[in-house]
Amino acid sequence: MTNFLSFQTLCQILVNGVLFGTMYGIAAIGMSLIFGTMQIIFIAQGAMIILAAYISFWLFTLLFVDPLLSILFVVPAFLILGGGLYQVLFRKVAYVGKNPSLLIAFGFMVLLENLMSTLWTPNTRAINTSYTAFGIPVLGLQISFTRLVAFVIAIVATIGVTLFLKKTLIGKAVRAASEDLGAAALMGIGIHWVNSITFAVGIGLAALAGITTATTYPFDPYFGFIFSLKALIAVAFGGIGSVGGAFFGGILLGVIESLGFYFLSGVWADAISYVVFLLVLMLRPEGLFSRFTRLA
């Protein structure tokens, strides 16, 4: 624990934390969007991420499709899947109360995790491309190429979603619905339609997070739940319902974990992220990056 800590090591830890945190970030954006309109924690987000990771893994192993290339058609497929998922699973119970939607999300997660485990065995998988081990030296730091690509993709996705919400008419409808659902409905916004769009975007982001995760880290069918929990913490850091906040919340969580992992052991690192999470919830429930105060 009392290792000599050079400035360079510290930088390396921080960089790793930021790069890892972007994964949580994109997962968290999807969760945050769905929470915004549906008011439920979509706990199956992590399972969807792992599903996307598996799809890109099989595309790579069986059809030799480069994982980065597979983004081009896996993400659109997941957009459609997400919209369909809402129509099939959530449309009916969306306004009965929160519990049914929450439980359906949970049931869906259990279903998906075990389906993947039965079909593809619970073994840990990883994608090994020709460039997986490739690292770029920047100012004496080693930065893995795949992580850097994942980082760039995450930033592009965050900007994309922000622009979508700010500039398009559909995005405006989504924002209106997450601000006040009743008023949005009175203004003629189709609520089921908006929820569908939100789900599509959320699941599309899950696909992106899944593919980039698959290129950088090993995964197994049950990894998704931990991913969901971490994304949840990131959402709380950023303030529920905020896109940029969720992304930076993810990065912050990555840095905290990375530091905790280095200075303490891996087990304590988890506890520390939860303690910080509890403190944030209690002291700044509106999120760390929010400009205005809101009561929880």
Binding site: V93, G182, L232, A236, P285
Partner: protein, 319 residues
């Protein structure tokens, strides 16, 4: 459903279940084991039901209390303070978890509401698991604590303790729900602001419900500790001990007395049956089943015929 009919139903059910170990061989029968497991789930589900169904505070951290209850029982036994099947150990477990619930509940419940509270309690469970994993010799680390299993004689005491505790939990929730406290809790669930303006000390009642729920959950953990003889952090702080009772309560109908019981029997039964017939794919069906029940019976089984035992309306979406 009238109180008398409910009471009659519970007494009849208890009598039937009390007779089971005398008809079936309690040592080898799978049914006896299944019922024992179901009783534990009923205890946990009723504990959650009081907090979420009546007080409206969704807790996702019940596994923290379950695990703590188990550890208190194990540690006090290993230190020679209590013994095998010691009621004192169970009371310690219950009180220990209730005290933790009060200590945690005051800051959490005064600051957080709704989903934020749910997230906070989820964090609590995870933190406690790490603390017990890192607890050194007191908690046995990742391996956990091994209790002297040589004292095991028969399944019967487990079965009857389980039945008794399930009955106790049900009765506790029933009488609390009918008392002043219950009225205050339902008022808080329906409209916190209105309850507050009517002079209800919101924090006091929320913490009370939270700690009673934790007390019941701690009792369940204590019984499971006596049954397994091996207490380890992964098994006892598993999120399953929080999620399954929640599923059972909601499937049966939250905020009702019989709901959690019906849900526990149904879900535990389905899990076990599929486990026997389709051992490999059992969780897939469980997941599918949860989806199906929620799509077609979003308010739980018990509300199919009876619109709320206490006449309260089914859940509405609040914004």
């Amino acid at each position: 459903m009238k109180g008398n009919r409910l009471m009659g139903l519970v007494i009849l059910g208890t009598a039937v279940f009390a007779g089971v170990p005398f008809i079936l061989d309690s040592e080898s029968s799978y049914v006896v084991y299944f019922l024992f497991l179901t009783f534990i789930y009923i205890i946990l589900a009723q504990g959650w039901n009081l907090v979420a169904g009546y007080a409206g505070q969704i807790s996702l951290g019940q596994h923290a209390f379950f695990g703590l209850g188990a550890y208190v029982t194990a540690i006090t036994w290993l230190r020679g303070i209590t013994g095998y099947f010691d009621p004192l150990a169970m009371i310690f477990s219950g009180l220990g978890t209730a005290i933790l619930a009060i200590l945690i509940g005051i800051p959490l419940l005064s600051k957080l509401r709704g989903d934020y509270f749910a997230l906070g309690t989820l964090g609590l469970g995870e933190i406690l698991r790490v603390i017990f994993t890192q607890g050194g010799t007191l908690t046995g680390g990742t391996v956990g604590l091994l209790l002297p299993s040589g004292v095991y004689e028969s399944m019967k005491p487990y079965y009857f303790t389980g039945l008794g505790l399930a009955l106790f939990a049900t009765a506790a929730v029933y009488f609390i729900a009918r008392s002043r406290i219950g009225l205050a809790l339902i008022a808080i669930k329906d409209d916190e602001l209105a309850a507050n303006t009517n002079g209800i000390n919101i924090l006091k009642y929320k913490v009370l419900a939270f700690s009673i729920g934790a007390f019941l959950t701690g009792l369940g953990g204590s019984l499971q500790a006596y049954y397994l003889f091996h207490i380890h952090p992964v098994g006892f702080f598993s999120l399953k001990w929080a999620l399954y009772p929640i599923l059972m309560s909601i499937m049966g109908g939250t905020g009702t007395i019989l709901g959690p019981i019906v849900g526990a029997f149904f879900l535990a039964g389905v899990f076990e049956l599929i486990n026997i017939w389709l051992p490999e794919s059992h969780p897939i069906f469980s997941g599918g089943l949860i989806i199906a029940v929620m799509l077609f019976l979003p308010n739980g089984f018990i509300r199919l015929k009876i619109k709320g035992i206490f006449g309260e309306k089914g859940e509405r979406r609040r914004r």
